[in-house]
Symmetry: C2
Subunit: 158 residues, 2 copies
DNA sequence: CCCAGGTGATTGAGGGTTCAACGACACTGT
DNA sequence: ACAGTGTCGTTGAACCCTCAATCACCTGGG
């Protein structure tokens, strides 16, 4: 290391913006979303993942993977959601180690109730400030970046 | 609320990518950066802000604003960095309430030592996966978004 | 001068997140 | 059948971060 060339003129602001967004966006979202809906953004992500799964059932580990959260975090979040009656936990029949998380009716209701608020936040924090052209041009780039970030963890660096 | 129209075909993936990036990027950065350099990404940001300030001096509150961190967090981070000898804290002469944080020689050295690692992380986690064209097209969009996010906090919603 | 209100920064308490260690279970080869 | 090894998920301890209360100080009006 130490042989890297500095960021060039286009890269530097790109990097700064990215850093700024990663710190400011979650805050902007959470600050309004939690009081409005009673769900943390993390909770919401878990409920969404379950709602999109077949039968509304997902292995704990699968849940961790699709939401990008750590196993221990998922464990506590699911516990919390279980306590609140929004999901249920069931031992997996064909693998005694594993557990499945199931979205309950109350969970689905809660999710549907929270959706408009989530949407509103997405609009006021992001889409209101960008043109459709912006979104069309930047979208694929962000998608590629997101995919790359998801893929990196396994290989422990180069 | 509740009158929002759903995200359209371009917006939905844009939104998902954005969420993914905001969760995965800080992790990807921190995980390698802290062990390599002994600096948390937050610490690094503070040192960078100081290094770019005239005389390497900045008010605590100014530091909070430029780094986007809360006042209480800055207070603790600066305390920690002071304990480690990387910055110094001085009462502001013309305002007894205020304090200035000053980058020490050791702090500058540390920052310079960490810079290549930071650069390397920026490359492997982001720029290696994007073309120069990507960066040129998406850069301004991200810049606009970052600016909008910085601007929103004051007005408490509509 | 003195008081009221505002601002800069710190701090205690509480919640959230992670790391590392662990218990329970599944697989593999002998 | 049975070690040995690996995987799923949970949990205790530690850390990070934020909110709200607070202290110290400044400023403006009587």
């Amino acid at each position: 290391m130490g042989e890297q060339s500095a960021l060039d003129l286009d890269e530097a602001p790109f990097w700064r913006s990215l850093i700024r967004i990663t710190t400011a966006l979650p805050r902007a979202l959470e600050d309004h979303f939690l009081p409005e809906t009673g769900l943390a953004i993390t909770d919401y992500g878990v409920l969404v993942a379950l709602s999109e799964a077949p039968e509304h059932v997902l292995r704990i580990s699968a849940l961790a993977a699709t939401t990008g959260l750590s196993l221990s975090r998922i464990s506590r979040v699911v516990d919390d959601l279980t306590r609140r009656g929004l999901v249920e936990k069931r031992k997996c029949p064909e693998d005694g180690r594993a557990s499945n998380a199931v979205l309950t009716g109350a969970g689905l209701t809660k999710l549907e109730a929270a959706y408009p608020g989530h949407l509103a936040r997405a609009r006021t924090s992001v889409f209101d400030h960008l043109s459709t052209e912006d979104i069309r041009t930047a979208g694929p780039v962000l998608a590629r970046l997101a995919a790359a970030l998801d893929a990196t963890p396994p290989t422990d660096d180069c």
